[in-house]
């Protein structure tokens, strides 16, 4: 108990303060528990010596109660604080556990983010979480997945952040995290408009690191100005580390899936090829026109240029395409062919470029297209004139930009497949009729090769007949040794509107029918068909040159290829022998070799 006038020397400040409050006496008791000294209670009154012993004792007693109450409250508050911290730690650990579970159970990255994002937003008081990944070639960043339920403005997943002008790009390039307010972006001259219009105030960007590789950026945003603390960053870095593992797994999974799909497609394709084609790798013949074609093949093969092969049906356009591929540096890579006329129009785009799962009804799985299949190799588009007009711009884009997207997909893929196209239609006329795009036509016809019909290379017919006869005989376990000259002459004279394919089928049939070592060709059928064709052609569709050629061939056959003499072909044609020989050379008529 202090009498203030007396205590002024010992407690000048306290005496002054309480005297200003109208007190002359002050009773002070300590606030203490058995272990702690907490403070003091002070009671002031007017008049000196104003506190009795009893009042001092009362104040001492209540000070004990007060001290206990204060300490208990502080202990409780402290324990509550610790409990909240433990709860927060537990939430974070649970989040990490959930994240780990998601990482090991989900190989799809979007599913991982969807699984962990709500918990992360709640635990870290976030408003949005986004995953930003580079595209396939690392040239651009893409907003891969976004969870921003309250976000406003352009918060869409298809917004590409710039690699250079954005904070995402900087974090991605430098592999260093960044956190701060949106105003700091503005000051640093970085792109902030998208975040600003989305209502973002505070951002945290963390690099997704796996070893020394930066796989992407984890973007965390708040719409208030609560900055990210060191503790937040420490925890979020752990989250980013787990997400980086998930990305690595997902990328590996995607790569494996794509390779698996590609292998499955290749297997199907090559099985199909083996079962449907005889795969003649050789081009049979020695005629001048064929040699001219082969010289063109040799010239264009190593260049990698687009080739347009034109020729009638069955002339061997595919063999020419294969020859171009086999003579090129791509020969070790796939030669993928697609007959555009054999695929329904609606499915052609999917066949060419592939499709994503769910792209259309029935697209239950992702499928890679022929352009992907032919990567590093050659794609051969037969009947290219049958490609519908609406699909032609996409084909043109592949030729010009080397880029395409799978049906139903947004990811741009690149291909370096070499294109060889073939058609039996007159594309130039189609362009004039506006059924084929002129720009695509000019792009395709960089190096046109015309494959002549069989009737223009009759000197190759005996070679082809022998080749097919031996081939089918071997396959059927037969022995064919000779072909009569009469049969060969008939085969040479026949105009072969179906070209080599027709010849091949005729010989296959002949081998089946042949019982002995001599090839028996059903000439009756052939002659009937020839007469029919002559009749058709005679009714107006033949050129003068063709009529002349057929007539000379007919006379030569009747004279058994005897030129001179009164009954020779020259006399029957009413011309001199040198003239006949000159006409034969000009029309590509040569005497068939005797078998």
């Amino acid at each position: 108990v202090i009498s203030l006038p007396d205590g002024e020397a010992a407690f000048p400040a306290a005496a002054g303060f309480f005297r200003d409050c109208g007190c002359d006496s002050l009773c002070v008791v300590g606030l203490r528990t058995s272990v702690n000294r907490l403070g003091a209670l002070c009671v002031g009154r007017p008049g000196s010596h104003a506190f009795s012993e009893q009042e001092s004792a009362l104040l001492s007693l209540v000070s004990h109660y007060a001290a206990l109450a204060i300490e208990e409250r502080f202990n409780f508050a402290q324990s509550e604080l610790v409990r909240a911290q433990l709860e927060e730690e537990r939430t974070k650990l649970r989040l990490i556990l959930d994240l780990n579970n998601s990482v090991v159970s989900n190989l799809e990255l979007k599913e991982v983010l969807q699984a962990i994002s709500p918990g992360m937003r709640k635990a870290m008081r976030l408003d949005g979480v986004a995953l930003i990944l580079p595209d396939g070639e690392g040239r651009e960043l893409q907003l891969y997945a976004l969870d921003f339920p309250e976000g406003s403005g352009p918060t869409r997943e298809d917004l590409p952040p710039s690699l250079n002008g954005s904070i995402c790009g900087r974090v991605f390039r430098t592999a260093k995290p960044w956190s701060g307010h949106i105003g700091q972006l503005q000051k640093a001259g970085l792109d902030y408009k998208i975040a600003s219009t989305a209502g973002v105030e505070t951002l945290c960007m963390l690099p997704l690191l796996r070893g020394d590789r930066v796989l992407g950026v984890l973007s965390l945003v708040r719409t208030d100005k609560n900055a990210f603390t060191e503790s937040d960053l420490e925890f979020l870095s752990q989250v980013a580390g787990q997400i980086a593992i998930a990305i690595d797994n997902a990328l590996a999974y995607r790569q494996i899936t794509e390779l698996k799909d590609k292998l499955a497609q290749e297997k199907l394709y090559f099985e199909d090829e083996l079962s449907s084609e005889m795969n003649f790798q050789e081009i049979i013949g020695n005629s001048a026109v064929l040699r001219s074609v082969l010289r063109q093949v040799e010239a264009v093969a190593p260049t990698g240029s687009t080739v347009l092969i034109h020729g009638d049906t069955g002339t061997g356009k595919e063999l020419i395409a294969r020859a171009v591929h086999n003579l090129s540096q791509r020969q070790a890579n796939p030669f993928v062919k697609l007959n555009c006329a054999a695929i329904p129009t609606g499915l052609l785009e999917s066949e060419l470029f592939g499709h994503e799962r769910g792209a259309f009804t029935g697209a239950v799985a992702q499928r890679i297209g022929r352009f992907e299949l032919a990567s590093q190799g050659t794609i051969f588009l037969d009947e290219v004139g049958e490609i519908p007009l609406e699909l032609q711009p996409k084909l043109l884009r592949v030729l010009q930009e080397r880029e395409f997207e799978r049906l139903g997909g947004s990811r741009t893929l690149r291909t370096n497949a070499r294109l060889i196209a073939a058609t039996n239609r007159d594309l130039r006329t189609m362009v004039e009729e506006q059924t084929f795009r002129s720009d695509l036509f000019y792009r395709l016809s960089v190096f046109p090769i015309h494959v002549p019909p069989l009737r223009e290379r009759t000197e190759d017919i005996p070679f082809l007949v022998r080749h097919f006869a031996q081939y089918f005989a071997f396959n059927m376990g037969k022995r064919i040794e000779t072909i009569s000259s009469e049969t060969m002459n008939a085969l040479v004279r026949y105009p072969w509107p179906g070209n080599i394919r027709e010849l091949q089928n005729v010989i296959e049939r002949a081998v089946i029918l042949s019982q002995g070592p001599i090839l028996k060709v059903p000439l009756t059928d052939l002659k009937a068909r020839g007469a029919e064709l002559n009749h058709i052609n005679g009714n107006g569709s033949s050129t003068l040159e063709e009529v002349e050629r057929r007539h000379i061939l007919s006379i030569l056959e009747q004279t058994n290829w005897v030129f001179a003499g009164p009954n020779g072909a020259a006399a029957r044609l009413g011309i001199k022998r040198p003239t006949l020989q000159f006409r034969m050379q000009k029309l590509g008529i040569s005497r068939p070799q005797r078998t």
Binding site: F11, F17, R32, G39, L41, E55, L58, L59
Partner: protein, 88 residues
Amino acid sequence: LAAGHVEEVLRFARKLGMHSDPDQLLRALPAELYALLDCTATAVVHLRQGELSFHVVDGEGCVLSQDPSASDWPKEIWSAIPEEENPL
């Protein structure tokens, strides 16, 4: 203690029990002391994490001063509190 004081101490203890927040309790303590004893001014000085704080009310329950830098008197009071549990 006088018989009346026992009742007052019990009432004081019950009043303290109504404040669950420690800061609220510290702010309420001078007024509760005022209700217990007939006085002109009551004060609580408290040390928390090395910092002294105080709450003072006058005879009408008005807060007199809250600025710890305004005066050195809380330090004087704190330094005068002996280790032993005896009133000054």
